[in-house]
Symmetry: C2
Subunit: 218 residues, 2 copies
DNA sequence: GTCTATAACCGGATAGAC
DNA sequence: GTCTATCCGGTTATAGAC
């Protein structure tokens, strides 16, 4: 009874552990993460982790699933409305994807960090999630680009490459963020982050749009 | 004496260990890598690793330094010759960078994998290497882009953003390669790798060049 | 559901023979 | 330079009191 009245509702020990584990896995990776550190971060007891989750592996899988579940949910919101003119849609797509990553920087980090290892969980979870994204959203974008090419509104470029270009430029910024601070400290260690994000998003949008618009000769 | 005659010359135990460690660190990361696994991979005894390198950390630092030393050396070869017209140089720069990564896919992988952890070695080594690249090569490229903008040969885009665009698209392909196989198995698991590389390089070059050339109105 | 104590194991590192 | 045997600290995981 006291249980059902408690609030805030999502601050249960289980949720706190999951949140703490997400942070720990981002910073240390699966092998580097310590169960004790996760417990400390969650303000909980180490034994509680084993009470709620069976093992370190099971905890990791739970974190992965929850994180990518969020990814799929948010991608569903990327539904360009109104005019399907690619010249209008491209900046919209870039913006939605970029801002999504800005709000969830953990996603590309965990994904790419564990990608090269051989935890069987990673391809397992990833296969399912990618399958859903592919079948639910990807064909829409391809169709829009192909229509734009046929009507001559954009140059004849393979839509897959265009999508890779957008994903690359958007995701790389968040993955490589710490490297940039080391490489260009005068820019990435002094300009406010919100300003940097704005500049970066504009640059990506600008390049993709101008790179796809037809030229005189075409 | 038998030592000095032996060949191939670079297949010393020390070199075999270093090569094995590079592989192991790529696939498992620093924390996940096992000294025993490195020894097995090198066909050597575990104690030999400690004989040649002092500790796991020292071995890791040696691997990092050697890898990035190679990076700096190869960047020195990226010296565009002849006409400094950016319209000629952009595809050259993209090609040299892309092909360098294709030959050394370990670089972006190790770099980004350990970036988010807090091993003090990573920022230490990286700071030095980046410093050298920055001071030796970066200003040349910026100067070329700025000259192109002044002469109206390319649009007025921040050279730093252009360079980030190129690095992003080139590097992301190699980092995300395993994810692409899962996401688009019909393409990235069936088309030959050399063909994929060629398509990808062309797409990057095409986008950067067309995105920078001036339009009618400009 | 929460905690303490501890078992069981693993992996980095070293000693010392050859 | 190469190998075997072993130490030792740290980490996952569990037993069991409250």
């Amino acid at each position: 009874m006291a249980e059902s009245i408690q609030n805030p509702p999502e601050e249960s020990t289980r949720e706190k552990i999951k949140a703490a584990a997400t942070e720990e896995f981002i910073h240390k990776g699966f092998d580097g993460a310590r169960m004790q550190a996760i417990a400390d971060r969650a303000g909980a007891n180490k034994a509680m982790i084993y009470y709620y989750f069976r093992s370190k592996e099971a905890l990791f899988e739970a974190v992965l699933r929850e994180t990518f579940e969020e990814l799929v949910t948010r991608f569903a919101e990327i539904r360009p409305e109104g005019d399907p003119d690619p010249r209008v849609l491209i900046p919209q797509i870039v913006r939605l994807h970029f801002r999504f990553l800005a709000e969830h920087p953990a996603i590309p980090k965990i994904l790419l960090r564990e990608m090269h290892s051989n935890h069987p969980i990673v391809p397992k979870v990833l296969g399912e999630i990618f399958g859903r994204i592919r079948s639910e959203r990807y064909p829409d974008f391809v169709r829009i680009f192909e229509a734009g090419i046929r009507s001559g509104k954009i140059r004849d470029v393979d839509p897959l490459q265009t999508i890779l270009n957008i994903i690359s430029m958007n995701a790389f910024y968040f993955i490589a963020r710490p490297v940039l601070s080391v490489g260009w400290p005068d820019v990435f260690a002094s300009v406010p982050e919100e300003k940097l994000l704005e500049m970066r998003e504009r640059a990506v949008s600008d390049l993709v749009l101008n790179g796809l618009l037809p030229r005189q000769g075409d």
